[in-house]
């Protein structure tokens, strides 16, 4: 059974100690919401879990694979504050490249992913011409093709309308019922049941 184990994690940014001795376990099927004031270290924690930042101390492992291992990288899907889309490329071209980077799905499924977030008619539009909410939808459409078990989502509902939030919430619930794990940060109300909370 998939398990994420965080042991005695500490994070320092500049002279500020954001959190120290943070430990928790997350089992398959669980969703963890990280809350806290601005600057409390939510994004830093997600970046550490994604392998972008190194912790001051402590360890991170998923199924006994360390954060720096190839298998951990394959098992993880991270979406940060920024949508990771290039404005000069179309929605489908951006998705093609991002899925290539994360070793995900074939082209036919990309069309399906875009239609699930309501952007089927926009697949050949340049991302630079889309609104902030539409860009967020394109970025989140990767959730519909991701094979990764551990999802790390930083403010996934920002810029989304209520329909968009519902689509993404349902996809997160579906992923976790199928044995996936999800860690997310959000300042908005979340309608997902059985949500574990972690306050920084």
């Amino acid at each position: 059974m998939s398990k994420l184990i965080i042991n005695d994690l500490s994070c320092q940014r500049g002279y500020n100690l954001l959190f120290t001795d943070l430990s928790f376990k997350l089992n398959a099927g669980e969703i963890l919401r990280i809350s806290g004031a601005n600057g409390s270290g939510k994004t830093s924690l997600l970046k550490m879990l994604a392998g972008l930042n190194s912790p001051e101390s402590g360890s991170i492992s998923y199924n006994e694979n360390d954060v720096k291992t190839y298998q951990y990288q394959l098992d993880t899907f991270y979406l940060g504050h920024l949508p990771a889309l290039s404005p000069e490329l179309s929605c489908i071209e951006n998705l093609e490249y991002l899925t290539q980077l994360s070793n995900q799905e074939s082209k036919s499924n990309l069309d399906g992913a875009l239609s699930k977030v309501g952007l089927n008619n926009y697949k050949n539009e340049l991302v630079g011409t889309l609104s902030a909410g539409q860009k967020k939808r394109v970025a989140l459409s990767e959730l519909f093709i991701s094979h990764s078990k551990l999802w790390l989502l930083d403010e996934p509902f920002t810029s989304l309308d209520s329909d968009g939030i519902e689509i993404i919430e349902n996809q997160i619930k579906k992923h976790c019922t199928e044995g996936g794990l999800c860690i997310l940060t959000t300042h908005q109300d979340c309608k997902i049941e059985n949500l574990r909370e972690l306050s920084l």
């Binding site: 940060g80 990771a84 071209e93």
Partner: protein, 221 residues
């Protein structure tokens, strides 16, 4: 290997849809060279003596002008983070980005150099040497430049810092590149200069993607 091709194709496609990103440095290259005869002298002997230095310095500066954008846009929109956490080797992705940079700046400089060489009264033999040295050196300029660009990624208005970091590393290439063309004008052997430029190319091709990857990870942390 497919991630190399995909990244190369993506970067070229993006550049062609936003041509000012690579046309501005090329325009600078052509305009700067065409101003020298007006400022110094239109006399053929003077210009042909100065031509290697003029072409080499302007090509180096135009490569430098384009380096700031190498990782900047991908950093701004978050794609660079995805490249770093990808399971694909980061040095291979960065090598693809550097290759795209060379195709968009170094290669056009090589293609334009015969025309500009003729404008500065270089004869055909020396134009051939100029092309050869630029062909060996412009990839080095992109590869070494990528290290500097990855160190300053995320720092705002860092053009001057990039120049300070990179220019000292460009100087040996400039010395050997210009001296190869100058010595060939006096029918002196240029094997040493060509061997030096070739070995710098091989060395930077092997090491630069790894150093850039390390610098990028440190910069984004």
């Amino acid at each position: 290997m497919s991630i190399f091709i995909k990244t190369l194709r993506r970067d070229l496609k993006m550049a062609l849809r936003n041509p000012s990103s690579f046309l501005n440095p090329l325009l600078f290259f052509v305009i700067a060279i065409s101003l020298f005869p007006i400022a110094i002298s239109p006399e053929s002997h003077t210009l042909s003596n100065m031509a290697p230095g003029i072409i080499w310095v302007t090509s180096m500066l135009s490569v430098l002008l384009s380096l700031n954008a190498l990782f900047h846009y991908d950093y701004d929109n978050g794609v660079l983070e995805q490249m770093i956490i990808s399971h694909h080797p980061l040095p291979l992705i960065l090598l693809a980005k550097t290759t795209a940079h060379w195709i968009l700046t170094g290669l056009p400089i090589i293609l334009l150099s015969p025309l500009l060489g003729m404008a500065l009264f270089l004869d055909s033999k020396n134009i051939y040497i100029l092309i050869l040295t630029l062909f060996l050196a412009t990839p080095c300029l992109s590869l070494i430049g990528a290290i500097g660009a990855s160190l300053i990624v995320g720092i705002k208005n860092s053009g001057m810092l990039l120049s300070l970091l990179i220019l000292p590393l460009y100087i040996p290439i400039l010395i050997f590149g210009t001296s190869a063309v100058s010595q060939s004008q006096f029918n002196l052997p240029i094997d040493g200069q060509l061997y030096f430029l070739g070995s710098v190319l091989i060395f930077s091709l092997i090491t630069s993607p790894f150093v850039s990857a390390l610098a990028l990870r440190i910069s984004l942390e």
